[in-house]
């Protein structure tokens, strides 16, 4: 498989900008705030209910929306469309308003212009989610949302451009990685138009002819459209679409996952194979999916109690830390390291070990996304209707009981039906990872593609087997991991 054959499969991409209603909406200059405003209102409602509403998670908007509906809708939209959550991100609306009053003066330090900070924050969020049982606490969930708003205000209040989105936001990084598998990307329609373009407004911003002030912003994430490849670091903010004077940027369909192949120079990114930080993000994304699901099944408690006894530790944090280290460091090092060594040995590959492992680690992203989809869609679909009684209760508490008494018996789809969907997502992820790793092997070592592919296929199979095992484990919703 190579780029040329992929392009031949899809010669005339479908453009979302040509769809009635959607196209004009996305072209509208105020499309983003229009989409952000409802989510901001919902966020405020979640914060208020989280702080002042019922302390029981199933009865509170903050926990129900955050841990069931938001996560479920997020992964399904990423799978079916693209990074539209970042487009409608309510945190950015607050940032925009704040920047009207105070403009940032600093540039993000060069040493931090990578994904290491956001990888650490991603891991930290996964860790605190387990340690403090965020899913069971409306109070802490509300504070997490408040913390997010404050972080955006501080980071983007001090630093220019979209620093928070590109270098800090853990949700954004999750979306960037997952959207490499989305069927749509923001892309130029005709490269020739860009070649003839003199102003490059998509990156510089459109300027007023008389005052020379920027009136429509260019890409704040440093993605120059003609050289942009795929969805990595793209927030679908529509700035480039609005700024382009030739109406040459669309939201085009593509074969999901193709951007994980190839290793061309990508605007704002560089080469995938040279980005150890991006590979680390892909690894945390993939192995974190299994870890996050592992935290909710019965065996985790047995493991924690065993570890606690062996280490004579009664505090949860060190035990949880060890489990995180096993999942996010030890397991990837063993699996990816073995696969890398075997690829070198069997495939007769001359490529250095680390760049080889970095390049193939992106191939595991579909499997990771399959697990995130399986996990989050389980909670979303089995608790689909719970938003109805929670909203009834919220409105009644505000003195507007017009939706009637909360019907707490409303839950969602039966778990056994949802399990079939979960298996489907895992199979899809496994197939995607096999396709990508095979594509990489085919690109790199055409003479020995199968030999180079087999070690990575084995890694994918191990992850697939572990994921299947996880979804068949009995769930156990415990706020206290280590029982006495």
């Amino acid at each position: 498989m190579n780029q040329i054959s992929i392009q031949n499969l899809d010669p005339t991409p479908f453009d979302l900008m040509q769809v009635p209603v959607l196209g004009p909406l996305f072209r509208w200059r105020y499309a983003r705030p229009f989409l952000q405003a409802p989510l901001l209102l919902v966020s405020v409602a979640m914060i208020l209910h989280g702080l002042f509403g019922p302390s029981l998670a199933p009865k509170n908007l903050a926990t129900t929306l955050s841990w069931l509906h938001f996560r479920g809708v997020l992964v399904l939209v990423l799978l079916c469309a693209g990074n539209f959550f970042c487009l409608a991100c309510p945190f950015m609306l607050v940032r925009q308003v704040a920047r009207r009053f105070s403009r940032p003066r600093f540039t993000w330090p060069r040493a931090l212009r990578n994904k290491w900070v956001s990888v650490a924050l991603f891991v930290l969020i996964l860790f605190t989610y387990e340690l403090f049982d965020l899913w069971s606490s409306p109070w802490w969930t509300a504070w997490l949302i408040i913390g997010y708003f404050l972080s955006v205000l501080v980071v983007d209040g001090l630093f220019k451009h979209a620093t928070f989105c590109k270098f800090v936001c853990p949700i954004g990084q999750f979306n960037f990685v997952a959207s490499t598998l989305s069927p749509f990307e923001v892309k130029v329609r005709d490269q020739d138009v860009c070649t003839r373009c003199l102003t490059k407004d998509c990156i510089r911003g459109r300027r007023d002819a008389t005052s020379d002030l920027v009136v429509i912003r260019g890409c704040e994430l440093a993605l120059f459209q003609p050289r942009k490849v795929g969805n990595m670091d793209c927030t679908f903010c529509l700035d480039c679409i609005h700024a382009c004077p030739h109406d040459n940027v669309g939201i085009l369909s593509r074969l999901p996952g193709t951007e994980l192949l190839g290793d061309s120079l990508r605007s704002g990114i560089g080469y995938f194979s040279r980005r150890n930080d991006l590979a680390a993000l892909a690894v945390v994304f993939t192995f974190g999916a299994l870890l996050n699901a592992f935290g909710m099944v019965s065996p985790v408690y047995a493991v924690e109690n065993w570890l606690g006894k062996v280490l004579h530790v009664s505090h949860e944090a060190p035990v949880l830390g060890l489990i995180f280290a096993a999942f996010l460091i030890l397991e990837p090092v063993l699996l990816l390291g073995s696969a890398g060594l075997l690829t070198q040995a069997w495939g007769g590959v001359q490529r250095a070990f680390l760049p080889l492992v970095v390049r193939y680690s992106y191939g595991l992203v579909p499997m990771g996304f399959g697990m995130w989809l399986a996990h989050y869609s389980f909670h979303f679909l089995t608790g689909l209707y719970t938003i109805i009684p929670v909203t009834q209760n919220f409105l009644a508490s505000l003195g507007f009981p017009f939706l009637g008494e909360p019907r707490w018996t409303l839950t969602g789809l039966p778990a056994n039906a949802v399990q079939v969907i979960e298996i489907g997502f895992l199979v899809l992820g496994f197939a995607g990872s096999l396709a990508v790793t095979h594509g990489l092997a085919d690109e790199d070592f055409p003479a020995n593609a199968l030999r180079a592919f087999i070690p990575w296929a084995a890694v994918c199979a191990v992850l697939f087997g572990a994921s299947l095992w996880l979804i068949f484990q009995p769930m156990e919703m415990r706020a206290t991991l280590m029982s006495g």
């Binding site: 069931l68 069971s136 608790g383 156990e476 919703m477 415990r478 206290t480």
Partner: protein, 133 residues
């Protein structure tokens, strides 16, 4: 438009004040004279049928009879099916209700209903570490 440093500071102070106010908020204590002694059987609690037992006594330790109490079991995670049952008074002031816990983990048992005098009763009890079968 760029606002002055003083205005920025004032804005920060307002945000901090709201934050501190919100931090200090705690849900009100709903206890009102009636004491509820709660039990769940059998122990250790496992997935499946259990019996919720509770005794209601008033401020002078007399049993509170004739209460209409509904028992609700919720998981600590949102999205799980709650279970409901009506409690029966088996002795004066002592109530029991069968309940079926569908999943291992932490449960929260809610008692809601009304006393004979019409006064509402709302209580919440944690049932931690329900074991799988």
């Amino acid at each position: 438009m760029v606002i002055s440093c003083a205005k920025s500071c004032r804005l920060v102070w307002v945000i901090v004040a709201i934050g501190v106010g919100v931090c200090c908020h705690r849900p009100p204590n709903t206890s009102r004279g009636v004491t509820v002694e709660f039990q769940i059987k059998p122990k250790p609690v496992r997935v499946g049928p259990v019996v919720i037992c509770f005794t209601l006594t008033d401020a002078v330790n007399h049993p509170v009879t004739g209460a209409q109490i509904e028992v609700e079991g919720d998981m600590s995670h949102a999205g799980m099916s709650p279970v409901f049952a009506q409690a029966n008074e088996v002795h004066p002031g002592r109530y029991e209700s069968p309940l079926s816990l569908a999943m291992a983990g932490d449960w929260v048992i809610l008692l809601h209903g009304a006393l004979r005098n019409g006064e509402k009763l709302e209580r919440q009890f944690d049932v931690r570490d329900v074991r799988p079968n």
